[in-house]
């Protein structure tokens, strides 16, 4: 039953994340955090963090991580398989029938609206990650976030990282390693965290 749920959940994530890169993030958050409570928001932020520093697409990384958590190795394999199953069916059908996919008016039209929508969905998931990492207790709900509960070290890390990325376009891995290292020192010095 659990395996079936895992499969179905990640099948939907695979089927509805269109546009590559971060497009799967909002769907993973919805299925894994909000719907099934397999991960807390804190765990989810950690999975995204780990995904940035390990090879492979975020969706596959999340599938393996959640699968391991819920049902060990069989869970990881089932969730990963669920995640790639829609790709296999759709991409291979296109290859098999050799569809002139690019020129289909319907596909083009759908993508015209999907591209900007995906930007907003990523923005929304990114905002909940931001709010969760700026809260002092790494709580699950950012609604409870008040000024005295704000983690100022995280605010400084976020703003510095953002400015560095905008200005110099460096590899994101270095920003994350940097904020991890600087964060550790800052938290130990301020006795926070």
């Amino acid at each position: 039953m659990t395996l079936l749920k895992l499969f179905w959940s990640f099948f939907q994530i695979g089927l509805f994340s269109i546009g590559g890169g971060y497009a799967s993030m909002p769907l993973i958050q919805e299925q894994v955090v909000e719907l099934h409570h397999w991960l807390s928001m804190t765990d989810f932020v950690d999975v995204v963090t780990i995904s940035q520093m390990t090879p492979g697409p975020i969706a596959i990384n999340a599938a393996t991580f959640v699968g391991m958590r819920i049902a060990q190795l069989p869970g990881a394999i089932v969730a990963t398989f669920g995640c790639v199953a829609p790709s296999c069916i759709i991409v291979l059908a296109i290859g098999y029938f050799y569809l002139k996919y690019k020129n289909l008016l319907v596909v083009d039209g759908a993508l015209t609206a999907l591209r900007p929508a995906v930007v907003s969905m990523i923005a929304s998931a990114g905002l909940s990650i931001l709010l969760s990492s700026l809260a002092q207790n790494r709580t699950d709900s950012w609604l409870a976030l008040r000024l005295q509960h704000i983690d100022w070290v995280a605010v400084v890390l976020f703003l510095t990282g953002f400015l560095i990325l905008r200005k110099w376009k460096i590899n994101p891995i270095f920003v994350m390693l940097g904020s991890g290292g600087v964060g550790l020192v800052a938290y130990l010095l301020t006795g926070g965290g």
């Binding site: 269109i18 090879p55 790639v84 690019k102 008016l105 993508l111 969905m121 990523i122 940097g178 130990l188």
Partner: protein, 191 residues
């Protein structure tokens, strides 16, 4: 091309190493695949690679998975696609399984938690950077329809917490209607 055992080994190993050394996922893997399969091995043409990129960008699922399925299928049919699929999925599957085990063991460690907390702020910065770039691209295209879709979707998802799958379905439908409408109007002007 001779599809012997050595060919499939080469296909598996090259796809595996591409997947194992592509960090962060997303578009990064496409230029690397091009270098390997087009320039180095001469297995597929430049034009095919462009087609594969367009298809894997606009079909559901992870780009790396879609692109390698297409390369495998093109080179050796369904079995080729199976080989490249397994080779693409295996590195993240293995690495994240190990990470998940360690994560459970280190979850309560204070120092690990502090590092992850700092990295969380870094990840938020990385995503913010990506979102700003993507949103700027949409705005600078000056397509009012796309800008409207972007704003409405944001309100729907962030403020009203509308289901993400529903948003994808509705946007796809609206986009198709919009394209048909434009085409109809263009035809009307011609007559």
């Amino acid at each position: 091309m001779n599809h012997d055992f050595r060919f499939f080994c080469k296909l598996f190993l090259s796809t595996f190493s591409l997947s194992a050394f592509t960090f962060g996922g997303g578009y990064v893997i496409i230029p690397l695949m091009r270098k390997k399969f087009v320039e180095q091995y001469n297995w597929i043409s430049e034009e095919e690679m462009l087609d594969f990129t367009a298809i894997s960008q606009s079909t559901p699922g992870a780009m790396a998975v879609n692109a390698s399925l297409l390369v495998g299928y093109r080179l050796a049919g369904f079995f080729g696609a199976f080989v490249t699929l397994v080779a693409t999925v295996l590195p993240p599957l293995l690495i994240l399984s190990v990470v998940a085990l360690f994560y459970q063991a280190f979850q309560d460690n204070r120092l690990v938690n502090l590092v992850l907390k700092g990295m969380g702020a870094g990840v938020a910065a990385v995503i913010a950077d990506v979102v700003v770039t993507m949103a700027r691209d949409v705005v600078s295209a000056r397509n009012l329809f796309q800008i409207a879709v972007m704003l409405l979707t944001f309100v729907a998802v962030f403020v009203f917490e509308v289901n993400a799958i529903l948003v994808v379905l509705v946007c796809a439908a609206v986009g198709i209607l919009y394209a048909l409408l434009l085409k109809g109007r263009k035809r009307g002007q011609e007559h």
